[in-house]
């Protein structure tokens, strides 16, 4: 199987939230409640245990290059689990519940997860969360079940503007680069790819085309998979253990 992923082109997003609805419907996810956040048109607020697509809305009092001259612009982005090439949740998972599938996506096996919650804190994107009702961790599966049936994920299927594109990662990357070049030529100099290459995660299998700083979309500017730096922690623990052993022995020596 070739590696699959999402290319989410935020410049095409119209904020319709069809992806959110399609995801909920296909995956049979519980509702989020009837909330009014007051944050633009975003009443979903964040990804979570039962929200695997989330459309964020930015109302900016500034122009967007290559569009009709105006001192105001809209940015919308459908956020999702990034399916990191090196996944923090997967490496942190103590039970082996989180696995890498044949499609190179990251999947939490609900029949194994015991709800320890480590993946929740290990995700540098704040994607994974533990569901109160059943005590397990949940996130986007990249529609593992649909992929097995040779169908595209529900969100990509439902997206009316092809802002969410699913496919072979290699092809998506080529297409994304062409799209950025195209946008630059049309005057949208701000456009760039987020996560197509990323040192700390070794690349995202669900990457994005953005038109503002990552922070504006609530994305970390330079995320690092926590377990990448675990060796120095173990080393410092080893040294400190020897220190405590030395303290005990020196306290035992008769003076």
């Amino acid at each position: 199987m070739t590696a699959k992923g999402f290319f989410t082109d935020t410049t095409l997003c119209i904020g319709c939230k069809a992806c959110e609805v399609a995801c909920k419907q296909w995956n049979g996810l519980p509702g989020d409640g009837f909330n009014f956040t007051g944050m633009s048109y975003d009443n979903t607020a964040h990804l979570g245990d039962s929200t695997w697509r989330h459309v964020s809305f930015l109302e900016r009092p500034q122009p967007l290059g290559g569009t009709i001259a105006s001192d105001f612009s809209w940015l919308m982005m459908s956020d999702v689990c990034k399916h990191c090439a090196r996944a923090g949740c997967l490496e942190a998972c103590p039970t082996g519940a989180i696995t890498r599938t044949e499609f190179d996506t990251v999947f939490i096996q609900p029949d194994i997860c015991n709800g320890c919650g480590y993946c929740v804190s290990a995700c540098p994107f704040g994607v994974v969360d533990r569901r109160e009702q059943d005590g397990r961790a949940w996130k986007c599966t990249l529609c593992y079940d649909r992929l097995k049936g040779d169908l595209e994920p529900a969100c990509a299927k439902a997206c009316p503007t092809q802002s969410i594109q699913y496919g072979d990662l290699v092809q998506l990357r080529i297409r994304a680069k062409e799209r950025v070049e195209d946008l630059h030529q049309r005057g949208m100099g701000e456009a760039y790819l987020y996560g197509e290459k990323q040192e700390g995660t070794e690349g995202l299998n669900a990457f994005f085309l953005l038109a503002d700083k990552p922070q504006k979309y609530n994305l970390p500017p330079n995320p690092v998979v926590p377990t990448k730096r675990v060796r120095s922690s173990w080393l410092s623990m080893g040294v400190a253990s020897l220190g405590v052993a030395a303290m005990i022995l020196s306290a035992l020596v008769k003076r």
């Binding site: 975003d42 997860c113 320890c116 480590y118 540098p124 253990s241 035992l252």
Partner: protein, 278 residues
């Protein structure tokens, strides 16, 4: 100037762990260093230290396991922790350490050579048991924990040594044993104060998450150190100093635990530690 961020929303999910986990950091550490002390004392023929150290190790292991299982989303699946060995996951490694420690500390209650051998094994496992929790939380995306990934393990080990030494101060025993407890208490309390300072320096970019309990914990250690330093003190004062040491050690873990929750909810902290990364 508008700050970076999305409507002021948190970027990360706060840790889902309940405060039972902060208590576990304490009980696991106390059990671990108690076992190490008991192992060392068994060679010196200090019977009281050996006996009480081993009992504390076993009791601590039992309580620790209970606290950990209590916090799981699905408690009956606790054993799934041991269905794989995964070196990349400090939690998995830690569960194996705790399991082996639990078995060894139970064996250490046996009489004779078998008990002594198991006691040594428990003592050797006890130190990583006291320290791995620092590795565990240090390797998360939580800004203040992540910044302290190399300073948390020494802090937790020093704090564990304080709790064990303080427990032995409270227990008392023969004159030699009391002298030992006092010496270890002084050394470990100094070490914890040093570890406090290095931790604070390592998290300076996001130290706003450290609350009043952090400062309180440090002054508790200072006060109990002062009491430990008093030579030939009355019994009541010795016990009071020990109790203060135990409470301070617990307070240190709570302070670090709560700071992590606060830190995760602050998107600016996440941005701050990612701005100037190597």
């Amino acid at each position: 100037m508008i700050e970076d961020g999305y409507h002021g929303m948190p970027l990360l999910k706060p840790p889902v762990w309940k405060e039972t986990i902060a208590v576990y950091f304490f009980t696991g550490g106390l059990a671990g260093v108690s076992a190490a002390v008991a192992a060392a004392a068994s060679f010196k023929g200090l019977k009281g230290l050996t006996r009480y150290g081993r009992r504390a190790a076993f009791a601590g292991a039992l309580v620790s396991a209970a606290l950990l299982i209590e916090d799981l989303g699905i408690r009956r699946r606790f054993i799934y922790m041991l269905r794989v060995f995964r070196p990349t996951s400090p939690m998995n490694v830690g569960t194996w350490i705790l399991s082996a420690f639990g078995a060894a500390s139970a064996g250490a209650l046996l009489p004779g050579v078998a008990g002594d051998a198991a006691g040594v094994a428990a003592g050797v496992l006890g130190l990583p048991l006291a320290g791995y929790t620092g590795v565990l939380i240090g390797n998360t995306a939580v800004p203040i924990w992540s910044e302290g990934r190399n300073t948390l393990p020494p802090l937790f080990l020093a704090s564990s040594a304080v709790s064990a030494a303080s427990m032995f101060e409270v227990i008392g025993g023969s004159r030699a044993e009391q002298r030992f407890a006092q010496r270890l208490a002084v050394l470990s309390k100094l070490a914890e104060l040093g570890a406090h300072a290095t931790f604070e320096r390592s998290v300076s970019r996001v130290s706003g998450a450290l609350g009043a309990s952090w400062t309180a914990a440090r002054w508790g250690v200072v006060a109990s150190l002062a009491i430990s330093l008093v030579p030939r003190k009355p019994r009541a004062l010795r016990i009071a100093g020990g109790c203060l040491g135990l409470v301070s050690s617990l307070a240190s873990r709570f302070a670090v635990f709560r700071a992590g929750k606060r830190s995760a909810l602050d998107p600016q902290a996440t941005f701050a530690i990612q701005r100037s990364q190597p």
